[in-house]
Symmetry: C2
Subunit: 553 residues, 2 copies
């Protein structure tokens, strides 16, 4: 059987310790993968690069919230109702499918079912009665009266529900961004695309909060002439940020800026620019919370164009939902240049009436009434514990007063770049994988960027001579003490050892030979040029450090 | 009400963005906390320090496996049966308790229940009928025929179930260590100790695999004279590693070495050595998998001595369990110096008999029989899918042959240092918190080590003059480009800005003043000495970098 690139990479990934199927000794289960010793370091390095873009370059703040999320949060966010897949079961062989996966292009679900053409890909049985399945893993907290909860479908909700605290942290200024890196979960009906569709995955999300009247970014002007790789569902275009916004292709400057940051990040991580594009979502493919969405798509020989980052304008959707459900004040004040005097109608609650009528709820009702803005004098009602309570006319008075108003309250808008770290890691593997023929043998190299490579340098004594071994081990220790990951190896020919390092993408190899004992210099070999250079032992740390740093300074 | 140090720290932690209660806008729930902008960086730094100890200094490898874990793994590991708490419900007020939490010291559960002295701490109702509750959060995977699963109670099982792959990765040499950093889960019955008892927590675990006949560590000799802080449940002792092992207080050198590594890590992270000790577990307090266990305990003014790291000798418990349940070969070969000729009895399966008798299972049975070592000729049976199948005599022949044997197979032993990151973080906050009185005002400082501090340096223009602001912002950007986290601040007096930085534990503050415009130098103020130093702008990056690095090089 001819192997495609995915098969080759996954075999190599398993053999050399990048990616293992999870629970393999118990038969495994689709949608779960482990990162092995090299994979976990690759992932750490990708996340470190991501943080350097979002925390350091863009000045976002990071938070870390639980993966277990209580029901109330995800009901408010819409996930309990909307985070679903249309699913269909085969009565014959008991398999379940996501309808979208087995529907022929161009047909609708209704047509396929009516005409009886929707058949089980496994046994050929006719499929009927599709139904919606919620994709969240559910669990419960505590014993006895347990509390319903889910594993989070996105890290974003942990940020939204802390908005008021985070806004205070940044000393009440917009725009500001908050990121979270961590696990997300999606109980896929039947994932069959290897590492591309995981049930437990690693995400990195940024939520940038804006004044909706001012979707600008302080750094936009610095990058406005840079070009974005765009795809309008028909053709590819290279457009400057400024032109894309001016022509209305991208809705606003802030969105364009985060698309650019995303593009820069992915290319820096080692994605091939010829296999990269932004594609705009059609109206009917957007998530329930989005008003505009661009996907950063990466081309894979196996999977074609795949979505690796979604950059969505979530508008005020989430914050409004949490304000409504929790009653928490998450508004932001847009101050006037000078205060205005405005006429307002206020409710003055009458506790003499409210008390006997509403008993223990009266205090809460009083509180809500006092905060209420009265638009007209129609019937007044309040919502407590999701129940609407009508308040009789005699329970309050309406008083007109003049008030000093210092600004307008509003709910901030959110722009969200949401990264699927696992898909990006697979694409980095695929785009950096090379096979060459070396002396009749197949030779494999991963050409990872030095700051992405899991191991930075091999350290070898030329041969297994104790004198060379001693020096090589000292150098190895020195590098590790300086936070440089190494691979010490004394077995096999030097050629074989270089090949081992090339195959896992190690950018440098340091060799200690007999000259070293005389001149205190080592040979450093570069993976990509295969050129060798003599460097003083005392300079090895700084030599390697300089080459593996994310930014030069 | 007088606040104790925990209340003070948690208030400060919330106000300044270290720790927030989770889901607070929906009323919160015990056992869940968020790390805010500073807390998440503190956590990242603690984990980075931990990796420098385990990955770089100790040469362990890291892996990353799912939090969702299928039933089969956790049944084999014993968690389905053993990971329980004795629990009791109050029939009157419906609250549930972990019996251990409400039992008076010195009384047994049986006595307390018989005598009717076990009462509900909430309503005073008499408590009866304790029962065991499993502490794992459960969930299920897929739709239709769902697969039972749990959220992992420890990261260790992800390592054990990959042992054969990891052993291959390290090219089949013992000892070697594998670490995992990530979430662990424990559905506590009713956690009431703030951040000390979490239902979702961050762990860092190392599993070090040894030949049980050789529980040594290559670095033991380098540190054998260092002293460990030990507590034998009666008195404190300071003992060298060598003496502790020689006197049989610590079972073996490898265990002693990892205790030392743990002590070094905790003290480097900023734990006060006077509030630190190792306490040995009594036989009846060990986890179901352990044969010897030491706790690294840290003293808290609120919580007294708390376990923050458990260092357990898990022996061959877990690997043996997974070998038995999964049938996977996870044995290791201890090679002889030269091969021996030994007499062995082998089973030769008779497929003519096995086939008709066992049908589709016959192939699997043949495979097992061929691998079986025959100790005597009593009845032979095999286990398939957990069912024991007796094999009739006529289905095989027993043949005696001479075989070349190159070594003995054995199951490696495991030493496990298991760190509770959240508890350590709380203790770092408590041990580094100082209140002083400054000009009649209460003044708070966190004296974090520079490599632990979330923000490395404040950057201030002396006053809000555009000329100073421009230079300060340039320096701020330069530092960030070089991966140094900063806090730019131009509001309030310099004293107020220093105070803000002291309160969050920022070790340095850089101020740009009018002299800077002349001499291109800035003032760098040290948090702990409050001394100021003039440094060239071009040297600021290297000045700060040198001071915040984990190791000097």
């Amino acid at each position: 059987m001819v192997q495609d690139i995915y098969d080759k990479i996954m075999m190599l990934a398993k053999r050399r310790g990048y990616i293992y199927p999870s629970f393999e000794i118990y038969g495994g289960i689709a949608g779960f993968y482990n990162y092995g010793p090299l994979g976990s370091q690759l992932k750490n390095n990708v996340e470190k690069l991501w943080r350097s873009f979002y925390l350091l370059r863009d000045n976002c703040i990071e938070i870390d919230t639980p993966t277990i999320t209580i029901y109330e949060v995800l009901r408010a966010s819409g996930h309990v109702d909307e985070f679903t897949d249309l699913t269909i079961d085969c009565k014959k062989c008991k398999r379940s499918y996501k309808v979208e996966d087995i529907l022929e292009k161009g047909t609708t679900v209704e047509d396929a079912i009516k005409s009886g053409t929707l058949k089980c890909p496994s046994c050929g049985g006719i499929l009927k009665n599709p139904y919606n399945v919620n994709l969240m893993f559910s669990t419960s907290i505590g014993v006895g009266e347990r509390r319903k909860a889910f594993l989070r479908p996105e890290t974003a909700q942990g940020i939204f529900t802390d908005f008021h605290l985070l806004y205070r942290y940044v000393r009440e200024k917009l725009p500001f961004g908050v990121v979270q890196i961590g696990k997300g979960y999606r109980n896929e009906v039947s994932p069959r695309q290897g590492t591309m569709r995981l049930r437990e995955f690693n995400m990195a999300e940024a939520e940038i909060f804006f004044d909706p009247e001012n979707k600008e970014h302080p750094n936009f002007n610095k990058v406005k002439d840079k070009e974005l790789y765009l795809f309008d569902n028909e053709k590819n275009m290279k457009l400057s940020l400024e032109k894309a916004v001016k022509d209305g292709i991208i809705n606003n400057r802030a969105l364009a800026y985060y698309m650019y940051l995303t593009q820069e990040f992915l290319l820096s991580a080692g994605i091939d620019s010829k296999k990269f594009r932004f594609r705009k979502h059609a109206d009917d493919e957007m998530a329930h919370y989005a008003t505009e969405c661009w996907d950063a798509e990466i081309y894979s020989e196996r999977f074609d164009w795949i979505e690796c980052v979604g950059i969505a304008d979530r508008s005020a959707y989430d914050l409004s939902a949490h304000i409504k459900s929790s009653g928490t004040d998450m508004y932001v004040l847009r101050k006037y240049e000078k205060p205005k005097i405005v006429e307002v109608k206020k409710l003055i609650p009458n506790m003499g009436k409210l008390g006997p009528l509403f008993k223990d709820k009266a205090g809460k009702i009083k509180e809500i009434l006092e905060k209420m803005e009265v638009k007209d004098t129609k019937k007044i009602s309040v919502v407590i514990d999701e129940k609407t309570i009508k308040i009789p006319d005699d329970c309050y008075e309406i008083v007109e007063t003049n008030e000093k108003k210092i600004g307008d309250k509003f709910v901030p808008h959110v722009i969200e770049p949401s990264y699927g770290i696992d898909r990006i890691i697979y694409c980095i593997l695929e785009h950096n994988y090379h096979e060459i023929n070396k002396k009749g043998e197949e030779y494999r190299i991963f050409t990872f960027k030095p700051y992405i490579a899991p191991i930075k340098t091999g350290v070898f004594p030329l041969i297994s001579d104790n004198k060379l071994i001693k020096v090589a081990k000292e150098i190895d220790k020195k590098l590790r003490d300086c936070s440089i990951s190494t691979y010490y190896d004394e077995s096999g020919t030097i050629g074989r050892r270089y090949a081992r390092m090339d195959e896992i993408g190690t950018p440098f190899c340091i060799t200690v030979d007999y000259d070293t004992l005389e001149d205190n210099m080592v040979t450093i070999r570069d993976r990509d040029t295969t050129k060798q250079k003599r460097v003083k032992i005392t300079d090895t740390v700084s030599f390697i450090k300089e080459k593996i740093e994310i930014s030069c300074c």
